[in-house]
Symmetry: C2
Subunit: 337 residues, 2 copies
């Protein structure tokens, strides 16, 4: 490992393909001088995109690959069979230690499988949770696990809480982050079996600033910094938030178009509406890390453009420079002992 | 049971107390001539409120009670100990058959406990789910179970689907309602253990129009009519929707106030914003029924005013006249046999 932070990018992943992925990578190298990007993908396509930019050739390396992981096929099969796909090759760079981190806008399922199977979990980590930041009225919270591991156990949720806390403090920059578990009421006795069993573990843990339960209605108001939940519930929170915000804005727009008076008003308030919606623009927040692996694996949206790729790469630099994995290893080992 | 539909109302429940509950009851008797209301509560307080209105004295009966169920104490203890509370007395009217239905804005926990313990479940019904309608872009969907039974089993979710389907068709008036299970992806193989085991039961059931999985992001767009899920997930969906809609409107308002231009626009679009938010005004939709009991138990919001109480009472009339419980009993017996 050099003084550079090396990020292996799946240049072929996502709905927008190499064009946006390559642009994001170039912009990241311009914004941060320690970034070295390995652009894994079809050589002709990637070099064609690169030819449009001036860039530091010492910090962008093309790694030619011949295959692409499909979003429509079984993630497990894709990862097993497509050994020369841009995703698998990029993940292997992390596994081998020739890259610190991996970013892809490709198949979410394949990233989750590939992260665990190719890069592998750190010693003592039982499951690697997906932990995106989500916007709230005051800033952002970390949602962990947002969809990686179905039917997790209480002590696994405790690991998620520790990992999320370290990430939130050191990468997102929230000192002593408030950790809470998603629950249907505030009292300790509330909840389903999983929550009832997890609550005391979180309460007893000295490594985190546990503040108790968080009710879903308080999440958008920023009631806590690290939102701990099982992957099914986390995925519901993530996807419902996206869907509801989009539907509300569509409904407001439709309603505004019903009269001349409101149409004029609509033109005037447009900047305000845009201001609010930009807070919900997930591109601003980089990608969702899969924590607890021997290296950093970051999933960005399938619809990601260059901005999200750029921010995700810069996020990898913070993660690596802050030695997040060393910190996680330390806390998890304490638990294992 | 007479030709009237008799609704036992907990006149002391909720944040707004007897004033709003009594007003709602009076308005319901004026709007529908088959309604007979039993106003259970402190006699002086209820009669004082009633004295402000002209009403048909044959269709409003005061049932004097001396206690009130608290929202702050254990629901089980409250129901067991406060035998002469407005809630327990009203529930007993349903149990004895002297009322068809019960409505309360009191402690949610106590209503859930009291409904199951005092009114009791119908034969073959294992668990009584709470099933409010929630708004979407096209109309409403039924969310079942939204918080009554933690850690339900697959065949219990199948019962929820049947009950919800009957309610949606006959009370809300959606013919052949589309039933879907909340999931984190559309494929049958997706989901946690509960969803994977429930999916085939729903798919095989001939009593419902099962359309597969619904992803949370599609719920606000009205992707299905009956949303089946376990109570923890349902409660997250319900509460997060309420919280997020409120937070977004607050953020838009705050952003609108930042410049003169947007302030003027804000005044002009106000009717449009109000139009959208009225769709999210839960008072419009009556209350949340607890289905599968020997009689109808309806929970309205703690913050309910007369409008919500009135609509909930009218909803009880539809429920009773449509013989929903006979229809549920038939479908559940089919399953048991």
């Amino acid at each position: 490992m050099s003084e550079f932070v090396t990020v292996a990018v799946d240049a072929m992943g996502g709905d927008n393909g190499a064009k946006e992925m390559v642009k994001g990578a170039v912009l990241a190298t311009k914004e941060n001088e320690t970034v070295h990007v390995l652009l894994c993908g079809n050589q002709d396509v990637v070099e064609q995109e690169l030819s449009q930019y001036e860039y530091d050739a010492e910090r962008i390396t093309v790694v030619p690959t011949t295959e692409e992981v499909s979003c429509d096929a079984s993630p497990v099969m894709e990862i097993q069979k497509k050994k020369d796909s841009s995703m698998v090759v990029a993940l292997k760079k992390v596994k081998e230690g020739s890259a610190d981190a991996f970013v892809s806008a490709g198949s979410s399922g394949a990233i989750l499988v590939g992260g665990q199977v190719i890069v592998g979990r750190m010693k003592g980590v039982e499951r690697a949770p997906l932990a995106p930041v989500i916007p709230n009225m005051k800033g952002v919270s970390l949602l962990i696990d947002s969809g990686a591991n179905m039917d997790s156990k209480p002590h696994q949720l405790l690991q998620f809480a520790k990992m999320g806390s370290i990430y939130m403090e050191n990468v997102v920059g929230i000192p002593n982050p408030r950790v809470a578990i998603v629950n249907i009421g505030m009292e300790e006795a509330k909840g389903n079996q999983l929550v009832k069993e997890t609550y005391p573990l979180l309460k007893e843990c000295e490594d985190i600033n546990f503040i108790g339960s968080v009710e879903p209605r308080d999440i958008p108001y920023g009631a806590c910094d690290v939102i701990v939940c099982d992957a099914f519930v986390g995925n519901v929170i993530l996807k419902l938030s996206e869907g509801l915000a989009g539907a509300l804005v569509k409904m407001i727009k439709a309603e505004v178009m019903t009269s001349t008076r409101t149409k004029i008003g609509g033109v005037l308030v447009k900047p305000a509406l845009k201001g609010v919606m930009s807070k919900f623009d997930t591109a601003e927040y980089g990608g969702a890390p899969l924590l607890g692996l021997k290296g950093l694996v970051v999933k960005i949206h399938g619809t990601a453009t260059h901005a999200e790729m750029k921010n995700a790469i810069l996020q990898c630099v913070d993660f690596t420079e802050q030695k997040i994995n060393d910190k996680i290893q330390e806390k998890i080992q304490n638990q294992v002992q």
